[in-house]
Assembly symmetry: C2
Homo-oligomer: 438 residues x 2
C-alpha cells in the first residue's frame, strides 16, 4: 500500500471548474493519483493517517502543459534572432540541424529543456522533433510526462531518409513506449508544404488505428496559403479536409492566417489550436485570433514553440502573453480573462492531447500532476485574486514544488532526478560546437 | 578620496554604442561615477589600487529605466482585471483611490514598487502619482533614482483641490527636492481630457523656466480623439500643438492611436514616446506603432505603467514584450531587434527624461547606475548572443547586483536599504483594507 499524503497549500486552484479558488483545502495523493480534495477541517476524520505537507503561501495548481515544443532546440536558444521565418529556417536553423542533429544533440537539448520546463511548473509537453526515442528516455529519467511526436517530412534528415522510413521508425518508437506510463505519442507531420498527400493519408489511417493525435504546424505565415494553391490547387484547409484530417484528432499549431469562415470550419471540425504567441510575434508570422476562436468554442491550448524562436520554455510567461495578446489583438479587454488563460495552459492542453481524463485539473481520480507556486512574493503581492496573480504577475521562478504522477520531481525549487552540473557542462560543449559552425 | 572599485563581469554591455558586447573588460567606479571601462589585462597597470569585484557569469548592463510608472498602485495589483479602460478606472481604480489614497497608502505602495523594481534591475523610474513627496522620500531611503511627476488634473483629489493648489503643491515638491542628487521632477498632467487649456499653458511656461519635462498620458484609447473634437473642436495633437506642447519636452505615454501623419508630426516635434506594451494589451487600448515610430527616429522609451494594469513592474518582461510586439504588430520580424529594445529600456529612457548625459549607458564619466545579470542559468543557456539572452530569455530574477550612483542597493539578490518584512506587513494590511472596500 502506498503512503497517503496530504498537501496543504494556502489555496487550491482546481481549474475545473474554471475560476474556482479553494481556501483551506487539502489535496490527497495516493500513489500516482489524486485521492481526494477536501476541507482541511475534515482531514483528521476522513484521512487520519495522511502524511501532511504544509505549503504556506502557495497556490496549488495542475501541472502546466506545454502544448507545442521542440525541446532539443533549447541548444539553439538565441542562435539567430530578429529574422523572417524563412531566412531564419533556411540560413540558420536548418543548416545547424543538418550538421548537428543526432542522438547526442537531442539528449543534451532535451535535458536542458526538460530541466527548464519542470523548474517552471510544466509537467507535460507535446514534443515535435527528431529522435523522439532519445527525448522519451530523457523524460523518463526526469520523471516528466510527455507526448512524443513521430516526425514525418518529405525531406531526408538524420532521423530518416524516406517517407517509408519516417513511418517505420515512428511506429517503432510508438511500440517501444507503450509500457511507459507517462509517455504517449502523436504523429508530427512538419507542415502542409513539406508533407505529401500520400503521407497524410497513411498517417490518418494509422492515427485512427493507434488512436493518437496528429500534431501539425498549420497556417503559420501568409506564404503558406499561396504556396498550397500553387502546388495543390487548394487552400491548406481544403486540402486537409479532402485528406480527412480536419477532425478532433488534429492539433493545429499557430493558425495565424484564419478568416472568419476558416474559424467556423475549425470550430465545427473540433480541431484543437495550439497557440504559440511569443514565437508568432517574434517571427512576425501573424497573430492567432484567439478571442474569436475562443468565442466559437474552439479548444485552444498554449505552447512555447522551440526556444530558438521564443526564447524560453516558460509557460507562465506564455500564459500571460496569451491573455494579454488576445485582448490587444481583438480590441476586447474582456477576452481571455485570467482563468481562461490558465485553462488553456492546463485542461485545454490535456484535451488536445486526449489526456483530459487523466491530467489538466485537480480532481479526484486524476493523475497527481501538481505544482505549488509561492505567491508570498513582492511581485505577486498583495494577493487580491489568486488566479490573476498566477497569470498576470507570477514568475516561473516562484514554482517551489512539482509532482508528476504523484512523484516529486522539483522540491524547494531544485530538480530531483536530473544532474544540473552535467546539463550545464553539455550545454557549454554544444555552445562551442554551434558557435564554431555559425 | 573615495575608494576605487573595479567590477569584473563576464561581459559588459555598454548600450552606447548599440549592440556592443565587451569581453574581458572591467568597469571602474569612483564615488558615484564610472571612471573608466578598460580591458582587464590593463587593469593592473592603469589602476593598481582598485578593489576588484568578480562577477562570474554576469553581464553588466546600465540600470534599466522604467519610463512610466504609478508606483504606489502596486497595492492595487490585480485588484480588478479583464475590464475595459473606463470601467476599470471608473468602477474600481478611481473609487479605491478616492477612498484610500493618502501619504500612508503612497508610502506603502511606493516601498513595494521600489523594492520590486530594484530587485528586477530598474535603477530609475519616471513616476506619476499623488503625493510625489512621499514617493520621493521612499526613493531616497532605498537609494533609487527617480523623476517625480507633479500631478495636474482638473478634479479634486486627496493631493489637491483646485488647479492652483496642484501647481502650488507641485512647485513646493520641486523646491524641496532640489538638493536630492538622485531626484528630479516633471509635470504630470493626467491626460488631455482631464486637464484644462489654462493649466496646460501655465505648465508649459513653468516647465521651460524650471527646465523639466511634461509627462502626459496621450492617445491611450480611441475614445480620446472623438472626445477632444467634441469638447475642444480639435484632435488632441492639434490642441497640444496650439498650446505649444509638442516639443522634446513632451513625454507622451501610450500613443496607440496614431496615423502615419501623426507619426511624422511626433517625429518632427521631437516628442518622446513612453511605450507601455503590457498595459496597452491588457486594457485593449490599442497598439503603439513602435516599429514605424522607430523608423522615423522617434525616441521611444519603455514603461511598465502601474501594477494595476500590467500587473508587474518587471522591465525585463516589458523589454521582451516591446521587442516581440513591435515585430508582430508591424509584420516585420527585423523591427526592434534585441539591442534596440535594450536601448529603449535604458538610454532612450534617459534621453526622454533629459538625463542622458548622466545615465542610460556604461560610459566614462556617467553615473554608476549598473546591474549585474547572472546569465549562467538554464533559461539563458547557452549564451550564443549576450544581448539576445538579456532581452528574449532572461528573467528579472537573474539580477544579482545593482548599484545606483555607485552605491550598491541590491547585493546577491537582496535589497540593502529597505526592510522586506515591513514591506510584506504593510502590503498585507493594505490588502485587507482594499479587500474590505471592494
Amino acid at each position: 500500500m502506498s503512503e497517503l499524503r496530504a498537501l496543504l497549500p494556502e489555496w487550491v486552484v482546481p481549474v475545473c471548474p474554471e475560476n474556482e479558488v479553494l481556501d483551506g483545502h487539502a489535496v490527497l495523493i495516493e500513489g500516482d493519483r489524486i485521492l481526494d480534495v477536501i476541507a482541511v477541517d475534515q482531514l483528521d476524520e476522513a484521512y487520519p493517517g495522511a502524511v501532511r505537507q504544509a505549503l504556506p503561501g502557495c497556490a496549488l495548481i495542475p501541472g502546466l502543459i506545454n502544448a507545442h515544443a521542440h525541446s532539443a532546440m533549447a541548444l539553439m536558444r538565441g542562435l539567430a534572432d530578429d529574422l523572417p521565418l524563412m531566412r531564419w529556417l533556411q540560413d540558420h536553423i536548418w543548416p545547424a540541424e543538418q550538421r548537428w542533429v543526432g542522438p547526442d544533440f537531442v539528449r543534451a537539448g532535451s535535458e536542458l529543456a526538460i530541466a527548464e520546463m519542470l523548474l517552471g511548473g510544466t509537467t507535460c509537453f507535446n514534443d515535435n522533433y527528431f529522435f523522439p526515442d532519445v527525448t522519451a528516455a530523457t523524460a523518463v529519467q526526469a520523471g516528466m510526462r510527455a507526448v512524443l511526436g513521430l516526425p514525418v517530412i518529405s525531406l531526408p534528415t538524420a532521423w530518416a531518409q524516406t517517407e517509408d522510413e519516417y513511418f517505420s521508425r515512428g511506429l517503432e518508437v510508438h511500440q517501444s513506449l507503450r509500457s511507459e506510463a507517462l509517455l504517449s505519442t502523436a504523429f508530427a507531420p512538419h507542415a502542409p508544404y513539406t508533407v505529401s498527400d500520400s503521407a497524410f493519408r497513411r498517417m490518418r489511417e494509422l492515427a485512427e488505428e493507434m488512436d493518437i493525435p496528429i500534431h501539425l504546424h498549420l497556417l503559420e505565415a501568409d506564404g503558406e496559403i499561396e504556396g498550397s494553391k500553387k502546388e495543390h490547387g487548394l487552400h491548406p484547409l481544403d486540402r486537409l479536409d479532402r485528406l480527412g484530417l480536419l477532425s478532433p484528432r488534429l492539433l493545429a499549431v499557430h493558425m495565424t492566417q484564419l478568416t472568419p469562415t476558416d474559424m467556423d470550419r475549425v470550430a465545427r471540425a473540433g480541431v484543437s489550436v495550439l497557440h504559440c504567441p511569443a514565437s508568432n510575434l517574434k517571427l512576425a508570422s501573424g497573430i492567432c485570433p484567439v478571442a474569436e476562436l475562443d468565442k466559437r468554442g474552439v479548444n485552444i491550448a498554449i505552447g512555447t514553440d522551440g526556444a530558438a524562436s521564443n526564447n524560453t520554455l516558460d509557460m507562465f510567461a506564455e500564459m500571460r502573453l496569451a491573455a494579454l495578446l488576445a485582448k490587444g489583438a481583438s480590441g476586447d479587454p474582456e477576452a481571455v480573462p485570467a482563468a481562461r488563460a490558465l485553462s488553456m495552459a492546463t485542461i485545454h492542453g490535456a484535451r488536445a492531447l486526449g489526456l483530459d481524463g487523466e491530467i489538466g485539473s485537480i480532481e479526484k481520480g486524476k493523475q497527481a500532476d501538481l505544482v505549488a507556486v509561492q505567491l508570498d512574493h513582492l511581485q505577486t503581492a498583495p494577493v487580491h485574486h489568486v488566479i490573476s496573480q498566477l497569470v498576470y504577475a507570477c514568475s516561473s521562478r516562484q514554482v517551489e514544488q512539482v509532482w508528476v504522477a504523484g512523484r516529486q520531481v522539483v522540491a524547494g525549487g531544485e530538480l530531483q532526478h536530473l544532474d544540473m552540473e552535467r546539463i550545464a557542462r553539455q550545454t557549454r560543449e554544444w555552445h562551442r560546437r554551434l558557435a564554431d559552425f555559425e
